[in-house]
Symmetry: C3
Subunit: 354 residues, 3 copies
């Protein structure tokens, strides 16, 4: 990144007060900024720093009234925080899209087609009959098996592994070390106590705008023609397990270390917290919110529930029960006390009535 303050002001639709010809190379916080960097002032409690900052430019609100001398150049805008966010996003795009071209050695099998404006890092591997769209970034050590398709603008970070036959949509981000399409966990018990491996012949379909976290695993479906499906807009955090034949509905968000067992269908817009476990062959309604570490052992039919516990039930009721759980030894003592008392009362009543 290297723009003049004037160029940045033009981009933000702001007005420059001071020397606009200086060059900006980086963004920073107002209290840390140095020459060549741009900061912003939004929260009044940081105002003090604008009088001492070494930033070459600071984005401030149009009506900002300085109470002391200011040496840095100002860019006056309607909403400094939004303007800074715009710069952050532009900066991020520049960083992530600057990778283009092919580093060697890299491997590409026969009959594979790759779009325009691609990054293929050193030691990346693309198998045979693979179709990759435009502007895809394939970082070093990515493995893409045979017969895979990947849509435009998708980023595969270092060490992502995509097994043969998987289909990945466009504008997805696959973080380092995640694995798409490994074998489902299917074994048939034999009479001698051993297990026979059931061939896993389905695949994985990841729709558009999905993010898959670091070291997360999505297994393929068991049967030929079936798929484990991650619907559009789903966001999966790190170290998540998605078993064979699972479907995760549109725009569902799942936090780190959650796990979903085979053939479960999760609805749309679910919020699934960290370390949640969901059993197999269930159906979870739309807009379900599952609290951290909960265990889900049966289907959720009504939409919009918030649940917790193992097995999970209504989160408020869980907390009410748990409040009593914490006092159980006291409850137990009171019950024992009461039993004695009742026995005494009864004995006395009995003796009275005799």
């Amino acid at each position: 990144m290297e723009f003049t303050i004037n160029q940045i002001a033009a981009m933000l639709g702001g007005e420059v007060s001071g020397d606009g010809s200086q060059k900006i190379k980086m963004l920073a916080k107002i209290q840390d900024a140095k020459t060549g960097q741009i900061a912003f002032l939004s929260n009044p409690k940081y105002e003090q720093f604008i009088y001492t900052t070494q930033a070459s430019a600071v984005i401030v609100k149009k009506d900002f009234q300085a109470r002391k001398e200011i040496t840095t150049t100002l860019i006056l805008v309607d909403d400094p925080y939004s303007s800074f966010t715009v710069l952050l996003e532009e900066y991020h795009k520049m960083i992530s899209f600057q990778k283009v071209g092919i580093e060697e050695p890299s491997f590409i099998g026969t009959n594979s087609s790759i779009g325009k404006n691609i990054y293929r890092g050193a030691f990346s591997y693309v198998g045979t009959n693979v179709k990759i769209g435009d502007s895809v970034k394939i970082y070093p050590h990515v493995y893409i098996g045979d017969n895979v398709t990947i849509g435009d603008n998708t980023i595969l970070h270092s060490g992502v592994k995509v097994y043969s036959g998987s289909k990945i949509g466009s504008t997805c981000v696959l973080h380092a070390g995640c694995v798409i399409g490994s074998d489902g966990f299917g074994f048939a018990p034999q009479a001698d106590g051993s297990y026979k491996t059931i061939p896993q012949l389905g695949n994985v379909i990841v729709e558009d705008r999905v993010t898959i976290g670091t070291n997360t695993v999505i297994d393929c479906a068991t049967l030929f023609g079936d798929a484990t499906i991650i619907r559009q807009g789903v966001k999966l955090d790190n170290l998540i397990q998605i078993a064979h034949n699972v479907e995760v509905g549109k725009n569902t968000v799942m936090a780190a270390q959650a796990g979903v067992s085979g053939s479960t269908k999760i609805g749309e817009n679910n919020m699934i917290a960290g370390q949640v476990g969901i059993a197999g062959h269930l159906v979870i309604a739309n807009n379900t919110s599952i609290g951290a570490q909960a265990g889900i052992s049966k289907s959720i039919k009504d939409e919009g529930q918030k649940i917790l516990g193992y097995p999970a039930f209504d989160i408020k009721e869980y907390f009410r029960s748990y409040a009593v759980f914490k006092r159980l030894p006291d409850l137990n003592d009171r019950l024992r006390e009461l039993e004695k008392k009742v026995n005494t009362v009864q004995a006395s009543a009995d003796s009275n009535s005799n």
Copy 2:
């Protein structure tokens, strides 16, 4: 795959009704199948599709009576589902065994011997003094450290890492990104609050016919000459943690995200569900069944138990306790009510007896 219908019928010991000379390239479900594909009909509720399917062939039961005209070729067998499963397995074998040969660049250290009929993918790394059997598949980005041995027919998927000195049996499947033999978690506390690393000098032994899931980790044993051992036929799912010096008994099955702490010995034919945690230095009896998310804090001596909870106990008793847990606020109210009542009765009894 490319066989004529006649060839497939011969393989299945079935009889052809129709044109057996057509070529089959793929398997499919009867409702989805297209020209060049073979399907099966077993469940009567799918019978409707046999009259409209585009499949080139359908496997049906010997005594199948068509109620309308059928245009596809039939293969008549005793058990269509079993016959289709045979085809699936053959297909799977063909797919997984088609990879043979060496892709470059790949790395192999000095003094390493590799068997016949091997696949070594591009960017795979084999260290020094390594011994690898016949028909082993080493996918791209696999790392095999020094002094490792690997038996015949074992498959190491992309990005598997095997630390120096590990021993892997034959006919094992190691899924993408799993790690065998990383350092055990051993640190000696020092007077100043810091920790000193205890050198981890043992190794890992994986016996025959073991499956190890994606991104699963098996640490090496601490002491020189000791081993973390995964016995024959064990099936480990994805993202599992097996700590140093653990032994997992023959044919035990462990679901995703379970974790076993150091030096615990797990018996044979255990069924360990997802996200289970097992503490260190325990002994778990054969045929133990541990429910999802359970925490095991003491040894299990009697075989055949089913347990749940943290700490885990009998699963039926857990559910009975949990049923009451859900009504604890009500229990608490009833207890309080009863206390009042008893006080009243007692006061009344006291006043009566006075």
Copy 3:
């Protein structure tokens, strides 16, 4: 390793009894040792093996009195166990530091500086503007993004991925497949139910003498200039999740599969057991001990607590409550019984008083 017994005795400050000119290649247990190996005898219950061992040398206590003939050479020392530990550590150093030099192909970007005495394995990747200290070991398939710095003596095992901008200290060990600096899980909900990705622009700082376990993930901070920080001496086990903007205090130890949500600050010298989950935006006091599978949903202010449960509270109280939990069906029965009894007593009292 190849030393004479005399050389080893000199290193340990011990005295040789027998032929000190034989060569030792390996360490072993006294009951397993073979020619060319050295063992030790500390625990008297293993004394029997010294009369039959095939070890070329055995380390024994100065005042050891043989009760039978001994054919192996002895090294007499003050504390055989400590002496053997010294040998183990030396052996471990030799093993781990024997890797030096550059294997090809490996990739290094422009403007990167690498210290002396380095190991760079085949298929390792170093980006641009990277600074790497002396005696660093970079195993095969390691990915180091742009603008990363790594201190002296740090080891990066196979398949470690370090995203751009991360800072790793000296004398750290990063185990296979761990990922440093992947994007924090940050998404802004939109009116249509979809999520917009918030650019993750901070980085990760790992201080000195930190160990990071296999397949563990540490996300970068969200804002530019902020960092997720792992303080010196921290030991993280395998498959752990550390979210964006977390700080883990000096010498804290965390067991496998634990997870920490965004922006939480963990104090020094914490002991965090396996599969623990810690919510976001909390502060955990120094010297906190968190039991396995506990869920932490609020800050811990007082130092030195031991906690368990979800949400976690004092571990002793948890166990007391849990003991009653296991008897809840009985408690429920007793309460019902008592209600009946009280009703009877009350009825009888009422009839008496009428």
